[in-house]
């Protein structure tokens, strides 16, 4: 294992429902300052800026202006919720290439405040739009229908993912939904796009985050315990669900093995799974595609609370997009939680002895898959 880069400070902005008049840039700024301060740096140290935001067409320009910085390297890669895991990969690459030394990744969304329709570009595909899919949920519902058909995955197994997330969220003071949730509650919730109901769908909240990435050499001077980026890889297979080659096999089957090979790790060595849970079907697909169980066995793998607190496979320990926070593009919050767990700072929900975390971002409609393997301070 060799560290490609080190993640220093991380921070969440205000989450959930933000104050009237808040702009996405406010959340970026709030999180950026907190993340930099945590590791002993300031805005003046930042020379690489990475951002994506559905409300900002030129997010690095908006963030740079707001923060008052003039980065020499910027990357506004936009691949939906997975973008920020890609930014980690790109930041490490830029640092390795000498293009920047201190990379700042930022995100902010006020989608709850302004309404979902006002928060993202409404992009109509002429070959799908006539049938009025309720996207993104319809696309994930189609994948879930196919998974149930091919492998016998049940609504109860899908519900296990939501219940596991909720049990973790109940341990997280920042969790948005913290009331008790049972499998029966998930099954009885109103349907949105069969087989998915309201509790199979991620939250619609505001929120933002920031993370600081530096070289392994520079990490020694930071105030935070170094969390290492051991491997990162990306893949994407389509933009629209009707173009997805196989609805039960995602491009995580490409990004995962590449990230593992780069890190010199195997799934058996992972202590914490942070798998983007936009809908209950997504972690099931990723557990299979990333090699934690065989194809088709994801439903059985999550059954019986195996990924919940006290279970053998801690997954989405912040409560996930399903119960903690989902501001539209949730990927950077996966990184924040993994870093805190690897530093041992996760409080009541701390995974004992977590040394290696897998962060997996999903973007679009199972379109973009970005995998990163992070290591605790002992891996530097």
């Amino acid at each position: 294992m060799t560290a490609r880069a080190v993640i220093g400070g991380v921070a969440e902005s205000d989450l959930g429902a933000v104050a009237l008049g808040t702009r996405p840039e406010d959340l970026m700024g709030q999180a950026a300052v907190a993340a930099l301060r945590e590791c002993g740096l300031g805005l003046g140290d930042v020379d690489g800026l990475f951002a994506a935001a559905s409300q900002l067409n030129m997010p690095t320009l908006s963030a740079g202006e707001y923060l008052g910085i003039r980065p020499r390297y910027s990357d506004a890669t936009q691949m939906g919720g997975s973008s920020f895991v890609a930014h980690l990969n790109h930041a490490a690459g830029a640092i390795e290439a000498g293009l920047c030394e201190v990379a700042l990744i930022v995100y902010g969304s006020t989608q709850r405040l302004v309404g979902r329709a006002g928060a993202s570009v409404q992009e109509l595909d002429p070959y799908e739009a006539p049938y009025e899919p309720l996207n993104p949920v319809t696309s994930y519902a189609l994948a879930a229908s196919r998974h149930m058909h091919e492998f016998g995955t049940t609504p109860e197994q899908l519900a296990e993912v939501a219940v596991s997330a909720r049990r973790w969220a109940r341990l997280n003071p920042k969790g948005w939904s913290r009331e008790a949730l049972t499998i029966q509650d998930v099954l009885a919730a109103p349907r949105v796009s069969d087989p998915l109901g309201v509790r199979d769908c991620c939250l619609v909240t505001d929120g933002g985050a920031a993370a600081v990435v530096v070289s392994a050499e520079r990490a020694a001077s930071l105030a935070t315990p170094p969390v290492t980026l051991l491997g990162a890889a990306e893949a994407h297979s389509h933009r629209h669900v009707s173009q997805m080659p196989d609805l039960v096999r995602t491009a995580a089957a490409e990004s995962g093995p590449r990230a593992f090979a780069q890190a010199g790790l195997t799934p058996a060595e992972v202590d914490l799974l942070m798998l983007y849970d936009a809908f209950t079907i997504t972690p099931i697909l990723f557990l299979e595609d990333l090699g934690f169980c065989a194809k088709g066995e994801g439903g059985a793998f999550v059954a019986g609370g195996r990924t919940a607190p006290g279970g053998p496979v801690p997954m989405n320990t912040n409560g996930g997009g399903l119960s903690y926070c989902h501001p539209g593009m949730y990927g950077l919050l996966l990184v924040v939680e993994a870093v805190r767990q690897l530093r041992g700072e996760a409080g009541e929900r701390q995974v004992a002895g977590a040394e290696v975390a897998l962060v997996h971002g999903n973007g679009g409609v199972l379109s973009s898959q970005c995998t990163a393997l992070l290591g605790g301070p002992a891996t530097l």
């Binding site: 002429p126 796009s193 173009q243 609805l247």
Partner: protein, 107 residues
């Protein structure tokens, strides 16, 4: 380009034909239609199999079924099936609704 792929497709729909493209180099069907070198237009026989299904249930409004259909020529498209119950694996045949939009009927 004198005619966009979309215009060609819609003109075929207006004639009651489901048009798709064939990539002779890769020996495979291509859908949606695009502007890429060497693609040839073909007409589908319109027979296919339901690959995935969902029913969208709006808070206000009628539920609507949506499917992905695998056409026998080897391409897939989103559509709807004009039937009360639709299952993965059902055989379906293309038809065109009042707006010329391709939909499917059970066989």
């Amino acid at each position: 380009m004198e005619e966009s792929p979309r215009a060609h497709f819609l003109a075929a729909c207006a004639r009651g034909v489901l048009a798709y493209q064939w990539d002779p180099a890769a020996q495979r069907a291509v859908f949606y239609p695009r502007v890429l070198a060497g693609l040839q237009w073909r007409e589908s026989a319109g027979a296919g199999t339901v690959y995935a299904t969902t029913i969208v249930r709006p808070r206000d409004g009628e539920p609507r079924g949506i499917v992905l259909v695998d056409l026998d020529e080897g391409f897939r498209m989103m559509s709807r099936v004009r039937a009360d119950v639709v299952r993965i694996g059902d055989r379906v045949q293309v038809a065109f609704d009042g707006d010329g939009v391709p939909v499917f009927d059970p066989v």
